[in-house]
Subunit: 412 residues, 2 copies
Amino acid sequence: MGIIEGNAVLFTQGGPTAVINASWVGVARGLMNTPEITGIYGSIHGIDGILNENFVDLRAQNPETLEAITRTPATALLSTRHKPSDEDNKSMLNVFKKYNIRYVFSAGGNDTSEALDIINDAAKVENYEIRMFHLAKTVDNDLMENDHTPGYASAARYVANAFRGVDMDNRCFGGIYLGVCMGRHAGFLTAASALGRTGPDSGPHLVYVPERSFNIDQFCNDVEKIYTKLGRCVIAVSEGVEDDSGVPILQCLSSGKLEADSHGNVQLSGTGALADALIDRLKMYMKEKGVVEKLRARGDTLGYIQRSFPDQSPVDREETLGLGLFAAEQALSGNKDGSVAIQRVSDDPYKITYKLVPLKSVAGKTRHLPDNHINEAGNNVTDAFIKWGKPLIGELIQFGLLDQSKAVPKIS
Amino acid sequence: MGIIEGNAVLFTQGGPTAVINASWVGVARGLMNTPEITGIYGSIHGIDGILNENFVDLRAQNPETLEAITRTPATALLSTRHKPSDEDNKSMLNVFKKYNIRYVFSAGGNDTSEALDIINDAAKVENYEIRMFHLAKTVDNDLMENDHTPGYASAARYVANAFRGVDMDNRCFGGIYLGVCMGRHAGFLTAASALGRTGPDSGPHLVYVPERSFNIDQFCNDVEKIYTKLGRCVIAVSEGVEDDSGVPILQCLSSGKLEADSHGNVQLSGTGALADALIDRLKMYMKEKGVVEKLRARGDTLGYIQRSFPDQSPVDREETLGLGLFAAEQALSGNKDGSVAIQRVSDDPYKITYKLVPLKSVAGKTRHLPDNHINEAGNNVTDAFIKWGKPLIGELIQFGLLDQSKAVPKIS
């Protein structure tokens, strides 16, 4: 039951991250020196590459190029959002048999884990030994069994840096800054906006996540309170916020021209509509309430740059390479399958471990921000979240603020 | 005509940059050890701090805090968009006299240079010796007499990094990515999107700047050509693009709900409208032309993060600290006034020099991308631009791409 001779295939599926390459390069390095692994194949464009038998020889790649690839955002194996049908799963198993593929490693979301599980079950029925590994991957951080997922920390680092920068910018003039972050059902990435706060009056002052229903009036009221106190307010909002009956806020506020993807999900990324609509609403509210006639208010949508900005969290990078190596070791150690999860051993010192969990345990489920990471009012994160998130994103540049108490005496 | 005893005031005006603090801290350091400079004052919120006599003692600040401030984006002196009236200019001169302020240093755009020039002329009439210095500052890079302005290179570094990241992301699935960059009249920052290209098929494949009129049909046609060839297209567009009769494209495409700032300029930043409208138009075009029924197309607006992201170009940082020091030296060397410009001595090795130019020479004028930086079709930058821009942004991470020619032979 040790090593079975055959080929390995590595592929990536779904939305990429800034470290997804590190996960499959980690696997490739872990298999490289095992002669029983006759070929290490990279499937191009995820499962489409398997279905089309479009494989690249990863052993033939220049090691320096592979090293550079680990530092390159998005996936050099390219990707697809093709959700495999029953027919596709059958076809893939046939390709695996045809190419004597005995090891499968896929970096993907919970959809991918589900597909691997289905193929695995079918292979068992046919008595074809195959070792299926799912490598966690998502900036949304919404996979079950994981303390955090590879890719999250780098995206979180970007979001934290973006917000600490715009918070400084917002101080200059006052007014409102609202940034919409990725996160359809899980608020981890939006919450990361708070990880770069520098002082007690630092933004974001309000953080709205999809785990809590979003009430537009309450939102306006929250902003008014901060604005009245500080003359400014920085706000982070998840793209996926919904009202208490589950209707996306974008839908509540917009004309309803919304696009669905091939999984039937409404398009929330790649449009500035939610930020613009919330800003319009805030301006109207502040005017009607007589707070300020013409509110200086700006909304940005952080968009795709969140997952592809070339500034990996060093923690994310090391953990992801390690996760790939761990998957390779597991695959070589026996007839195993599973999803490699990152679990936290301790907060201080920060320490993690890898654990192989059943494919089924992450398939088709969504992990949410724990309750104790969200404040009671549902408009901010808690210290517990900050404590959890800080070790993930690496060092940030230390900011300085002027000591305004050292004032020059006025001449009367 | 050497040093005149009195106080110095430093202030920042208009939109901040990632290095604007380095410019005034550079000045403060340059004045710190000169006993004739009795006080070094920071005016809070630009000219508003002068009008309200709201000054902070910069000599009393902790040097470590000042060092941290040089690395902090936006301005720790805070800012204003208040454009001084004739009355304000008179009031400011009175404040300068009241506080025995003999040295004025302002980091601002060309509006600021104009105001300093007016006050300077008025001071001369009254025989009040005052030395007025304008420190170039703008991410737009649109100041006359400057090879480039402090702040541009850091914003350019961010834009280059953002585009090289999203270009990798765009490869994964194909389709269209469009990013709208800051730049109302000058295309320097949008052009910087091309500075991180990694290979011959790297995006951005199309770059539209305000220096050339923007034709919507031609744009769709340009995109179609690239998309048909590569299955993807990454596009950078300046927020300020206009049609051939000078109407902003956002206005051509949108319902016309546009907001003007206190200078009468239409609001182009802080809204995702242009990106969304261009993406909608592209989808419609590609469908009508039968190229693709449902185009995968995403638009992001890079927004305020462009000028505040905490990742300074090391070149920008050093040059900006140096520019502040140079201004201080000039001020201490005689009864001078002027704007400190960065001029390029040579491309290879990259070398610059500081030059004191008349305030009037930068006041109220806009510098544009030179003709030889834009290609003939008006839809891309040239090698001349890349050669000019590369030395400014510092080292970027080296990316790697898989060698797909090393394919696994298909089994028939």
